[in-house]
């Protein structure tokens, strides 16, 4: 009976470890995460086959029972999870803001472009919008670059 539990638990550990090891954005973060996952996998498998090991470790650090140690570890990792998720959420929000702003600015009409176009130079004046578009991918700084490029346009 106990062997079934052990097999299931090991499979779960392997599954989550593989899931966490795969992919990621920042190389340094990813390396740290992979090391953590390896440590977690090893200790998890060990504690499955030697349940008393956790209790011994707990007594060693003065916590009492192995389950208590597990609970503390769980709370700490949950808080870490919360803060990293929050960080990622903030990043996503910033990205969304820049994207929305770019769409909004690109779709907006620019009345000043039609204003100086009156004295017969119908073609040269609308050439200005081109200078507002090229930095489209960068956002944020784009408008600054656009501004910097304008004085040379001699409008």
């Amino acid at each position: 009976m106990i062997i079934i539990v052990q097999v299931v638990l090991v499979l779960v550990v392997i599954f989550f470890s593989l899931m966490l090891v795969r992919g990621g954005s920042n190389a340094k973060h990813m390396a740290v995460r992979r090391i953590m996952v390896m440590l977690f996998a090893i200790s998890a498998v060990l504690s499955i086959f030697f349940p008393t090991l956790l209790s011994q470790l707990a007594r060693l650090v003065g916590v009492g029972r192995g389950t208590d140690l597990m609970l503390y570890a769980f709370i700490v990792s949950f808080l870490v999870y919360m803060s990293t998720t929050h960080q990622r959420f903030r990043q996503t929000e910033t990205t969304l803001t820049k994207l929305s702003r770019r769409i909004a600015l690109d779709e907006a009409e620019r009345p000043w472009e039609s204003m100086p176009a009156v004295p017969g130079s119908g073609v040269s004046a609308p050439a200005v919008p081109g200078s507002a578009v090229p930095g489209a991918g960068v956002s944020g700084q784009t408008s600054k670059e656009t501004v910097a490029s304008h004085p040379g346009q001699g409008l």
């Binding site: 910033t94 803001t97 929305s100 909004a104 600015l105 000043w112 408008s143 600054k144 501004v147």
Partner: protein
């Protein structure tokens, strides 16, 4: 030739935005409304009244709308002065005109509206206390002796606007703006303005509870 742009962050103000723009246009012919994903007919009303409308595809917050407005007007090579104006009709056009005059005369780079410099604005004691506390808080954190920290009526010259990059999408942008100005150290001054608390703006205006959010946004960003 130089142009002064009015930037109005707009979110669900359809009943009043038309008249606000109509009041502005004779004095300021260049008005841009940044529609922050309104769910009512605000954008159509603003366009019908004669303003340029820049539309966020989704709701992002007032700070994001202001920043979009700044980036829009910076595209106009003739823009020399920008005024931020609230959409709910609580500001006076004459106050804005006086502030622009102070920018154009070269007296200051930034003119911030303050409702506490004269006795025109009638304001409840609790709201007064909260706003004064916010002003004292920003004075402590930035060293700028402000009398009114959360006033939506402000005027900037081009150079200052090009250096403003608001990242606080929600309500904390007002404090963030002050922090940016404190770092930028432009020549700034305050100008007495009247806030008109109409029945409409009272029903829509920030509840006092929102000051909790402003504080929390600042502390836990």
């Amino acid at each position: 030739m130089s142009r002064t742009w009015i930037v109005i962050p707009l979110f669900n103000e359809a009943p009043v935005i038309g008249s606000v723009i109509k009041d502005l246009l004779p004095e300021f012919p260049h008005v841009v409304c940044v529609d922050d994903g309104s769910t009512d007919t605000s954008a159509q009303a603003a366009r019908a009244a004669g303003a340029v409308v820049v539309q966020h595809p989704v709701n992002l917050g007032q700070g994001a709308a202001l920043q979009t407005g700044f980036e829009y007007v910076l595209q106009d090579p003739e823009m020399s002065c920008v005024v931020t104006f609230d959409a709910d009709g609580q500001h006076r056009v004459s106050d804005a005109a006086a502030m622009v005059a102070r920018i154009q005369s070269g007296e200051a780079d930034v003119v911030l509206g303050s409702r506490f410099l004269d006795s025109r604005t009638r304001i409840g004691p609790v709201k007064r206390m909260v706003l004064r506390t916010a002003a004292v808080q920003s004075r402590w954190s930035t060293g700028m002796p402000l009398t009114d920290a959360h006033n939506g009526l402000r005027a900037f010259n081009r150079h200052v606007v090009s250096n403003i990059h608001l990242t606080q999408n929600r309500m904390a942008h007002a404090s963030e703006l002050i922090q940016i100005l404190a770092a930028l150290k432009p020549r700034w001054t305050e100008h007495p303005v009247e806030i008109i608390y109409t029945q409409y703006s009272k029903s829509k205006g920030q509840s006092l509870l929102n000051s909790v959010n402003i504080l929390a946004d600042l502390l836990f960003r």
